[in-house]
């Protein structure tokens, strides 16, 4: 059995940034201001960062309202010192914006910031806009949102759920942003993204049009280092960066107080992230999230918590190479685990096939062993995953 390993190195260098390797981001360059604020009758430590060129000074923890229709909870968030409420035109079919509208009614307009998002019809597969995605439709939806919120302007308006650079530069929406800004209906514009984030973030940075990026950013993203790089570039160009899905983006584990805190701290280690939006639904979690500002440094226990979560079965191979040399057939197990990840997590079959093609696998893989001798550090069922993914070698190539 021959293993053709030459050539793989370059291939993987370009595609696997983010898997294994650096897990914790350095906390050296934080630029923030610390204040003790009066928070519902108690003194609390708040950490503020400036949202890029918008100049908005925001606490590093804000509220993503999408999961609650509880006005008392939103009220409590504002009374506690949270400044930014993040919603979307489409959340709860508009009821989310209405609930916020009820809460902010009568409050001083300078005492809070509202961010909402407007999405237009997209092709689900390509991420490109469909014909019905017009300037008029975008502006119409903005007017509806303003009415629900009871406001004449929002502070940040995002183009919702962008996954392609072409969509960032989509003329009808750019026109709508321009008109809305001119009409005083929005202060700042931005783009929200939760897939293919690096491409989208780079496109926003290059466009020099927007003020803010709202991006998924979590250690559970296999490509988090690419996201980190794109964020750094965007931030250097003056864009405000709002992080989201710091906790449950991969829906791997029920959130516990410990992993919520650790996950938020993880994302805030990155000095280029200016704030995160937390989707709490209880008063208790509001308090827990605010308490993160007491000390943003990850404790050893929290680091352990993150490691544990990242190594949950089905997430991704840690690249620890502990399995190397254990298989009598000398199968390149970490590489096969990556091919598995491309197929089942990235859904990029062509990519997986390319990799498998380079591995020069034997005709029968994992079929002749009565038991598997490989003990994976994170208990992957190695032969099962290998058998699933090795089937791709028998399928004609897509490319």
């Amino acid at each position: 059995m021959h293993k053709k390993l030459i050539g793989r190195r370059d291939f993987m260098k370009s595609t696997l940034a983010g898997v294994g390797g650096l897990f914790f981001l350095p906390s050296s360059e934080w630029k923030h201001e610390i204040k003790i604020v009066e928070s519902r009758g108690k003194e609390k430590k708040f950490v503020y960062r400036t949202l890029g060129k918008t100049g908005l000074k925001l606490p590093v923890i804000n509220m993503g309202v999408m999961l609650t229709d509880n006005p008392s909870l939103i009220r409590a968030a504002l009374d506690s010192g949270i400044l930014l409420l993040d919603t979307a035109h489409g959340y709860m079919q508009g009821r989310n914006e209405e609930t916020i509208g009820g809460v902010i009614k009568g409050r001083h307009r300078d005492s809070f910031y509202i961010a909402t998002k407007i999405g237009l019809p997209q092709n689900r597969t390509t991420g490109l806009y469909l014909e019905g995605a017009t300037t008029e439709e975008f502006l119409k939806r903005l007017d509806i949102s303003l009415k629900r919120l009871g406001l004449d302007h929002v502070d940040i308006l995002y183009q919702h759920g962008v996954s392609r650079k072409e969509s960032v530069m989509y003329e009808p929406i750019l026109k709508a942003f321009e008109q809305a800004k001119k009409a005083g209906k929005i202060r700042f514009s931005g783009v929200s993204t939760h897939s293919n984030e690096p491409e989208v973030i780079d496109a926003v940075t290059d466009s020099k049009i927007h003020d803010v990026i709202l991006t998924a950013y979590t250690f559970k993203q296999k490509h988090y280092q690419e996201v980190k790089k794109a964020i750094a570039r965007a931030s250097a160009e003056g864009l405000g960066i709002v992080g989201m899905k710091a906790v449950r983006g991969a829906f791997q584990q029920q959130p516990t107080t410990q992993n919520i805190v650790a996950s938020f701290k993880w994302i805030l280690q990155d000095p280029n992230v200016h704030t995160v939006i937390a989707g709490f639904t209880t008063f208790e979690h509001l308090e827990t999230d605010l308490a993160i500002m007491n000390d943003l440094t990850l404790t050893d226990q929290e680091k352990l918590e993150l490691q544990k979560e990242a190594s949950i079965q089905g997430l991704y191979c840690q690249g620890c190479r502990q399995c190397i040399g254990q298989c009598p057939e000398k199968l390149p197990i970490p590489d096969l685990m990556r091919a598995y990840m491309y197929t089942y997590d990235y859904r990029n079959v062509a990519h997986a096939q390319d990799l498998i093609g380079l591995l020069d696998l034997p005709n029968r893989v994992c079929e002749d062993c009565s038991f598997c001798r490989v003990k994976c550090a994170i208990d992957f069922n190695i032969p099962k995953k290998i058998r699933d993914v090795a089937r791709l070698k028998d399928v004609p190539s897509l490319t």
Binding site: L67, D69, N70, A76, M92, Q93, R124, K245, T281, L392
Partner: protein, 287 residues
């Protein structure tokens, strides 16, 4: 082409969860063709389709989402999303979170409503959301025909949760009923609550009702609420409790047998007592 199908075949069958929306056939509507594969999302992958909103659906125990896209000759498009939840009550819960009380309702499925560009309806454990783009003046007609056909393929239309019938009718806002699966009032120890809005000329308030087969669960809810509101040391017993809630103001809550019911946002003590009584009478009618 064959190769692509084979690959998709392998991958799709591996991505789809074991539990399926059994027997459901996406509608065939004259003049419209499916424009791609039917997509299936599981609780793990729902984020890829509805992003941050997925968390809300997960709270309502979504088990599977199937999506089909259609196009007509004029390139207008319709997307049919069929969410299957664990139980009809969970499906009602998420439907009720999104339903506008003053909506334009239709008798499709158990209930549905139309707004320009979309039609949503509830049916048993299914929550179906149909959206249309570029359908112009035909919008409502197109959406209704898709909705009727989809409903026809989903079997029994089911019933609204029977507990809703126990809410006093007097001054109840029509179609304002909701089901909150978790973190009711922002507290993790209160869950599975039905609510309805009430409106008087000068007042708006909410009634709620929780039913559990295990009385201990209800006792625990009251106990935790007592502790939360600083009444530590008081023991939860059946009867009426008034809580000074730091977030919601004064809340009256009654516990009897398998039910907890109460009122939020109503300061008028006489009216509060009146509604609690009405509620109790309605609950007595339940077998």
């Amino acid at each position: 082409m064959k190769a692509i199908c084979l690959i998709l075949g392998i991958t799709i069958c591996l991505w789809v969860s074991g539990a399926e929306t059994k027997g459901f056939k996406f509608p065939e509507v004259t003049g419209w063709k499916k424009s791609g594969e039917i997509q299936t999302f599981t609780p793990k992958t729902l984020y890829e389709y509805i992003n941050g909103a997925a968390d809300l659906y997960l709270m309502y125990e979504v088990e599977e989402l199937k999506v089909a896209e259609y196009q007509n000759e004029k390139k207008a498009s319709v997307i049919v999303d069929v969410y299957r939840h664990k139980t009809p009550v969970h499906a009602f819960g998420i439907y009720s979170q999104e339903r506008p009380p003053g909506g334009n309702f239709f008798d499709i499925g158990l209930q549905g409503y139309y707004e320009k560009g979309f039609f949503n309806f509830l049916m048993g454990p299914y929550y179906v959301k149909i959206s249309a783009t570029d359908t112009g003046t035909q919008d409502q007609e197109v959406l209704l025909s898709f909705a009727k056909k989809a409903a026809g393929n989903l079997g029994e239309k089911g019933k609204f949760p029977p507990l809703l019938a126990s809410f006093p009718e007097k001054r109840k806002v029509e179609n304002s009923e909701t089901f909150i699966a978790k973190n009711f009032l922002g507290y993790p120890f209160l869950y599975s609550a039905f609510t309805a809005d009430y409106e008087l000329p000068d007042k708006k308030f909410k009634l709620f009702l929780i039913e559990r087969s295990d009385k201990k669960e209800l006792g625990n809810m009251i106990q935790r609420y007592l502790d939360q509101t600083g009444k530590t040391g008081k023991v939860a017993v059946e009867g009426r409790h008034t809580f000074s809630d730091p977030h919601h103001g004064e809340i009256d809550l009654c516990w009897k047998g398998h039910y907890i019911w109460g009122i939020i946002n109503l300061n008028d003590l006489a009216l509060r007592s009146n509604y609690l009584k009405l509620f109790e009478e309605e609950l007595k009618k339940r077998k």
